[in-house]
Amino acid sequence: MSTLLEVKNLKKYFKTPGGMLHAVDDVSFSINRGETLGVVGESGCGKSTLGRTVIHLLPKTSGQIIFDGEDISDVDDHKLKELRRDMQMIFQDPFSSLNPRMSISQIISEPLKIYHVCKNSKELDSRVTALMETVGLALRFRDAYPHELDGGRRQRVGIARALALDPKFIVCDEPVSALDVSIQAQILNLMQDLQKERGLTFIFITHDLSVVKHISDNISVMYLGNMVEKSPKKELFDNPLHPYTKALLSAIPQASIHRKKERILLEGEITSPINPKPGCRFAARCIYAQDRCREAAPPLEEMAPGHFCACYRAKELAQG
């Protein structure tokens, strides 16, 4: 399969009164066409910033982004507008990502109008109708306003808007986190169906490991701006290598009373990403940390085919 998106050494720093905030620090990855890369991590680990920087919603600090064989690291506004046809985003909060003063059909048709896709209003109408049908929205909501819809339907509107221009690539930033489980399952199924039908490529950002496992082909785990582990999903869940990934996996409460597992309780909380110390970002909470971990950050190395991990001791720990 061919690579659709390749990101090399991407950095995004924010200037804050306290110093430089390293939101995304030297992250590299690539995604094949038609696949889903799940990005997991806790709040503040830089996963949303990563998603936004990749599609130029935030200007990057440095690094290279190659999309569809073309270097799009530095593009002007004109080129960016063209790119947006192919790169879209689905936002986390279906309550604040829809304009409350626009009706559903206006929201969905806006991208079509901006890009003059339709010749006349009749064509526009039929496109909106088709999109609403695609995402499973009843046509009676055409003229409804976002406040009249529940969370699941609102998220469907967000998805229809993202699909309007027939993009190749969509960044989904916690698209189901605000929804109840029964509705969450509806939306996840919809997204999988759309991916199959249209060959879409997703970056799926979430903090929910069971969701990411369900929907992704590959998963990368982020901690404080760094990608600490990246692997095909099965391998990650069967054989996690990074101490943080292990703790994260063990912390998920499972809806079963038979699977009591050894829980690794992490001490303390995520440290500040402002002017981070050299060395591994996770060292302060890691029970295996040694002096070398605090001196220089471990590189992301391939430990098994396709399985990357940034930890000096991963190999040694894996062998027990």
Binding site: H207, S210, S250, I252, P253
Partner: protein, 325 residues
């Protein structure tokens, strides 16, 4: 021990707006024994929080009103208590941990002052003694006492929730109602907070009603589970009954909708349709429009509560006393 500490009987709470009545809670029966943790599970709008606010006597009125029912605590009906009697119970005997630690704390008071406030209200002690106790509480939830004079914004989310917990526990209440205490937290922090709550519960011998939508959290810390749908408890039982001998179609579908970490499934099985509108509830079973097993009787007659196995209650026409109908 099987003495009932808190017993909710046939509780109905409705919200009255202009011409519509929102039936948030409809005939809920729930009892809590000493030392037990009962999980109250349901999706948004199921009436979980309204039930909790009802017990606390905190239903905003108007528009809310307790239409019927009794809430017996240590033999006395909380609903018949005067406002001042209720104030003596609230925070002292029954206290609540709120969902969102970011908004549950007063941003302009130090966390120390906020813990001290509860102690001063309910216990006869000097300000100094109260402050000393508050510091003890902070240490107990794992926050260094030196942070007594700091403001909420100086704490992280997990730390704020610890402060909220220490306020709720300050007077060593008999019952804690925890409303989604870990929903706003990250998983690793959630694991810490759950561990802490379990430990403290043992230490101070409290009973707890844990409100959540997360069946994983329930499996970890609850003894009994009540599944709520459209203002009713549709299934109740101990962990084994609910997780292994799931009876109600809604509960079964709820488990099916959660992506499983251990199993690989290509597609999830969502529950079709939406939660019913509480201002326009169906006359029969509330889950009937979304139910795959519906029968003609479901549309017209609300199912009675039946005990399928001892202690396992279900509200569904598929069952009768002692098993399948």
């Amino acid at each position: 021990m099987s003495d009932k500490l808190l017993e909710i009987k046939n509780l109905s709470i409705h919200y009255f707006a202009d011409k519509t009545v929102f039936k948030a809670v409809n005939g809920v029966n729930l009892s809590l024994e000493r030392g037990q943790t009962v999980g109250l599970v349901g999706e948004t709008g199921a009436g979980k929080t309204t039930t909790a606010l009802g017990v606390m006597g905190l239903i905003p009125s108007p528009p809310g009103k307790v239409v019927s029912g009794e809430i017996l605590f240590e033999g006395k009906d909380l609903l018949k208590m005067s406002a001042s009697e209720m104030r003596k119970v609230r925070g002292k005997k029954i206290s609540m941990i709120f969902q969102d630690p970011m908004t549950a704390l007063n941003p302009v008071l130090t966390v120390g002052d906020q813990i001290t406030e509860v102690i001063k209200l309910h216990e006869k002690c000097s300000s100094l003694e109260a402050a000393a106790k508050a510091k003890e509480m902070l240490e107990m939830v794992g926050i260094p006492a030196e942070r007594f004079s700091e403001y909420p914004h100086q704490f992280s989310g997990g730390m704020k929730q610890r402060v909220v917990i220490s306020i709720a526990l300050a007077c060593r209440p008999e019952v804690i109602i925890a409303d989604e205490p870990t929903t706003a937290l990250d998983v690793t922090i959630q694991a810490q907070v759950l561990e802490l709550m379990t430990k403290l519960k043992k230490e101070i011998q409290t009973s707890m009603i844990l409100i959540t939508h997360d069946l994983g959290v329930v499996a970890e810390i609850c003894d009994k589970v009540a599944i709520m749908y459209a203002g009713e408890i549709i299934e109740f039982g101990d962990l084994e009954a609910i997780y292994d001998n799931t009876a109600h179609p809604y509960t079964i579908r709820l488990f099916g909708a959660i992506p499983d970490l251990e199993k690989d499934v290509d597609r999830l099985e969502p529950i079709m349709g939406l939660m019913p509108d509480p201002s326009n509830l169906a006359p029969g079973c509330r889950f009937c429009p979304r139910c795959a097993n519906r029968m003609p009787i479901c549309e017209t007659t609300p199912p009675p509560e039946v005990e399928v196995t001892p202690g396992h209650m279900v509200k569904c026409h598929l069952y009768k006393e002692g098993g399948l109908a």
